[in-house]
């Protein structure tokens, strides 16, 4: 039968005379009935031992302990167990030695220390665990016990008595009888319940309109992320390339960059077909937001805010590596696949007197993930 594993216990000892497993409750045997006597407390005299036999029925399997086969087997098992524990001891000493002897502070030293500490710890634990397991399974007699379950449900009369007492107690408290006390008590407690909510108010500022704006402002320069240097259209002339842009003055400001990071993509003449763009409810042409076939989109995905970091030159697809929202770069970063619901907002751009790329103004719509007040 394929289901026998469900009925097998952990008996399986490798002992020479592996006993035949007997499942079930044997009839109560006389040896379970307590008959010996030991003194309990000085002066208390001899007391008969309590018997648990109404609750526990024991069943011992295997050969008697004085059987020659068992004696040989047990002696061998004893040695194996001791060997395991000795190995654990040696490895444990090794752990301490590795801690004292091996330094860290470089990658190689750290890896060496980690290997030595980890290995010695593992061997110590394995030695202790194996030794204990062999001990239980080979040296301890295979005892199986059947214990009786008691009713979880209380007897009916107990329930009734409890109910009666509770009723009496409630009556004594006058809680039901005096609605004035009851209601004023509830009234008095009510404001206290609001206290935790009130106290948590200063956890942070209210969002206000902060999610609608970024730090981009008219004339703020676009800096190349990493070098933090401004860039001219001429320096970014290779079609098909994409770079990340940070706003001047906020190069290391994580709070600002979380909304203001921008990608810059250069196209060949004629590739770009940004038609119009929603601004509120009106459509506006945004071709004049680009400079020299260079377009700037928000780098923050409109799904849940990952940076859209992948750009495929041949297909002009911008891909968010988190959840694979895919945006068509030539048509205004419109969504062509994935869970993002809106195009990446476009940053209006122009050049300043020195010829560097600057923002014409802030984004005309909120960047990043959707939120309730976004509209």
């Amino acid at each position: 039968m394929s289901d026998m594993e469900e009925t097998e216990g952990t008996e399986g000892t490798e002992s020479p005379g592996a006993p035949h497993r007997v499942i079930g409750t044997p009839p109560p045997s006389p040896r379970l009935l307590g008959s010996a006597a030991v003194p309990e407390e000085p002066g208390a005299g001899a007391v008969a031992l309590v018997s648990d036999s109404d609750e526990f029925a024991e069943h011992l399997e295997g050969l008697p302990p004085d059987d020659p086969k068992v004696i040989v087997h047990d002696r061998r098992a004893e040695r194996v167990v001791a060997a395991c524990f000795i190995i654990a001891f040696i490895a444990g000493c090794g752990f301490v030695a590795a801690y004292v002897g091996l330094g860290v502070h470089t990658i190689d030293d750290t890896l060496r220390s980690n290997l030595a500490l980890g290995l010695s710890l593992s061997v110590t634990l394995l030695g202790l665990g194996l030794g204990t397991l062999i001990w239980v399974r080979n040296l301890m007699p295979n005892l199986e016990v059947t214990q009786q379950r008691h009713d979880l449900r209380s007897p009916e009369k107990e329930r009734l008595a409890t109910e009666a007492y509770f009723k009496e107690g409630t009556a004594n408290s006058q809680f039901v009888k005096r609605p004035l006390v009851r209601r004023t008590l509830m009234l008095g407690t009510l404001p206290l319940l609001a206290a935790p909510v009130v106290l948590l108010r200063d956890l942070g500022p209210q969002p206000g309109t902060s999610l609608r704006h970024t730090v981009w402002s008219p004339g703020r320069r676009l800096l190349v992320e990493g070098t933090n240097r401004p860039i001219t259209p001429a320096e970014f002339s290779a079609p098909g390339s994409m770079i990340t842009i940070v706003p001047e003055g906020y190069e290391d400001d994580q709070d600002a960059l979380t909304k203001a990071a921008v990608i810059l993509i250069k196209f060949r003449p004629g590739e770009l077909h940004i038609p119009t763009r929603h601004q509120g409810s009106t459509l506006v042409g945004t071709m004049n937001w680009t400079v020299d076939n260079i377009v700037a989109y928000s780098k923050i995905c409109t799904h849940v805010g990952c940076p859209v970091a992948l750009y495929e030159q041949t297909t002009h697809h911008i891909l968010c590596p988190c959840h694979q929202s895919t945006f068509e770069a030539t048509t205004g970063a419109t969504v062509i696949f994935g869970p993002a619901a809106r195009p990446l907002p476009q940053l209006p751009m122009t050049t300043d007197a020195q010829g560097y790329l600057v923002a014409r103004r802030d984004f005309t719509e909120p960047v990043g993930p959707s939120f309730w007040e976004r509209g």
Partner: protein
């Protein structure tokens, strides 16, 4: 010490200090009987699947131990510092104190890397073992009366473990976990009405701010572990109080529990098990690198790497986000973004909410109010098993979709195709899995019935005098019979609109709910009767008997297997 021993060589003295201490304590607390019957002699049934919960318990203990060590060195601060530590590749880079101190633990504290990796592996093992333990409890029906409360505690523990894990691996403030936090924050923002406030209050303002790491830290090291500890205590106390379930076997009844006593057997075995789990985690942490935050680098909101994956237990949320089409409503100046909200709430809602609801649903559908201390074999509860496998498939599809870019890359399938397959499979897969599983369960029941009636196939071929070969069938032995006969059949509730003996229509059968209950009940009652006369008692019910195969009649026999006296009212 209070009874004639099983083993004859008890001729040694209990050491004076031990005896003295025990006596001193008993003088004051008087627990000798309790210690003997509830602790020392308490019976633990033996089955490999009962070790799964212990894995979770012991990983949790290891998490407490290693976590305490880590907290001695970790600095939960987002203050920016310039790194000048041992990891030269990041020398001079601006990082947060949290990130710098995690590097210090890894490279400048002896054993720090090992303990950090044990902590992370133990967290993964904790959640994994919780999942498998829950599956075991579900498929064997161990959640049934009287254990529903413990099942709910278990689900709460699992949900808390997910939060604990997410906050824990976000603490080092590295690139990978920072991206995860950003997703978490973006999801919070999407919650209608209160979302932006929740996000701003949790993060102390705009993302990332400077508050989230210290706040997650105190939640991770104090608040959630405290609740976990209390709930684990309750979980184990209830298990103690109600006693363990046991597998169907000869001699096992609803009124007893068979196994080995706690002292010394279970204590020794479970200690060994704890040590083995610790050893496995130590070995993993020695040879399998986990969460190498120095390779990910410090968090920056403008950077990300492709194929970033969260820890495995967040994979279902990640997959749900990826599988979702772009659904969003704009109305009256407000935005509801289903492409975030549904992945956030629905999959875990279905699985955790469904699991929490299930014991009560099953009780309602089957009308079974009895105590159950003997576990079901999964095949004997085809609807439950089918639904469970359906849930596993649902989870699995989303989990794999969470790595759809990796799947697409390894299997050379277009990325969008993988997502489209997942979009279909996440809905169709669970249904197919339910149907197939149920058929398999019923098939196994038929096999059991065959074995019971005609014995098992012995593998011995005999040639009859007329030349015919037959295989000899041998009767199932007593142990096997006990397992087979432990099967219980769901009683068919009175059909809707039917009348009882007094001509009164059954109240349960009325209304939409009553009809739904009747449908659910019929599904639960579908079973292969094991009694030899199973089709002879006039309760063919829905008449599903197949011509020529009348012994395979599908339908509930009128006889139910509720143990006498245990169908008590609630």
């Amino acid at each position: 010490m209070s009874r004639p021993a099983v083993n004859s060589d008890t001729d040694f003295e209990i050491t004076k200090p031990l005896k003295g201490t025990a006596g001193w304590l008993d003088d004051r607390f008087g627990g000798a009987r309790g210690v003997r019957t509830y602790l020392l002699r308490k019976v633990y049934p033996d089955h490999w699947s009962f070790l799964l919960g212990e894995i979770a318990l012991y990983s949790f203990i290891i998490l407490l131990l290693t976590g305490t060590f880590l907290s001695l060195f970790f600095v939960p601060s987002m203050t920016e510092v310039t790194y000048h530590g041992s990891y030269m590749k990041l020398d001079g880079i601006k990082v947060s104190e949290a990130y710098a101190s995690t590097l210090r633990i890894s490279f400048d504290v002896r054993g720090g890397l090992l303990i950090r990796q044990i902590h992370h592996w133990a967290a993964d093992l904790f959640v994994a073992s919780l999942m498998i333990h829950m599956l075991r409890v579900f498929f064997t029906g161990a959640f049934r009366k009287p254990r529903e409360v413990n099942w709910l505690i278990g689900i709460t523990l699992f949900a808390l473990a997910l939060i604990e894990g997410l906050f824990g691996y976000s603490l080092p403030d590295d690139q990978l976990s920072g991206a995860g936090l950003r997703i978490f924050e973006g999801t919070l923002q999407g919650i209608p009405i209160v979302g932006t406030y929740l996000a701003y209050f949790l993060f102390g303002g705009a993302f990332p701010g400077h508050d989230i790491v210290p706040r997650m830290y105190i939640i991770h090291v104090l608040l959630v572990p405290g609740i976990l500890l209390a709930l684990i205590g309750a979980h184990i106390f209830i298990m103690f109080w109600q006693k363990h379930t046991q597998m169907p076997a000869k001699g096992n009844t609803e009124r007893n529990v068979t196994g080995q006593p706690s002292y010394p057997y279970f204590v020794a075995k479970t200690s060994a098990w704890f040590i083995f789990i610790f050893a496995a985690l130590a070995l993993l942490s020695t040879f399998a690198q986990i969460n190498p935050i120095w390779l990910y680098g410090p968090y920056s909101p403008v950077a990300i790497s492709s194929a970033s994956q969260p820890d495995f237990y967040m994979g279902i949320l990640e997959g749900a986000l990826r599988v979702m089409p772009a659904w969003e409503w704009n109305f009256l100046g407000h935005t509801i973004t289903f492409s975030v909200l549904i992945p956030f709430a629905v999959p875990l809602g279905i699985i955790l909410g469904g699991a929490a609801f299930w014991p009560f649903f099953e009780r309602w559908a089957t009308g079974d109010k009895a105590y159950h201390h003997i576990n079901d074999r999964p095949r004997n509860a085809p609807v439950r098993t089918g639904v469970g496998i359906g849930a596993v498939v649902f989870y699995g599809v989303l989990w794999i979709e969470g790595a759809n870019d990796v799947v697409a890359d390894k299997l050379q399938i277009p990325l969008y195709t993988v997502t489209w397959i997942a979009r279909v499979a996440v809905i169709v897969g669970p249904i197919i899995a339910y149907v197939i599983t149920k058929r398999i369960c019923l098939g196994l029941q038929r096999k059991d019935r065959e074995e019971l009636l005609h014995g098992y196939e012995s593998g011995i071929i005999r040639q009859l005098p007329n030349g015919e070969f037959i295989e000899v069938h041998k009767p199932v032995d007593e142990d096997g019979l006990a397992v087979l006969e432990a099967k219980k059949v769901t009683a068919l509730l009175p059909a809707p609109g039917s009348e009882d003996d007094n001509g009164v229509p059954t109240p349960s059968g009325r209304g939409v709910l009553g009809k739904a209950r009747a449908v659910a009940n019929r599904a639960f009652a579908e079973s292969i009767p094991i009694e030899a006369d199973g089709h002879g008692n006039g309760h063919h019910g829905n008449g599903h008997a197949v011509a020529g195969e009348e012994h395979e009649a599908v339908g509930a026999p009128g006889s139910t297997a509720l143990p006498p006296g245990e169908g008590g009212e609630e």
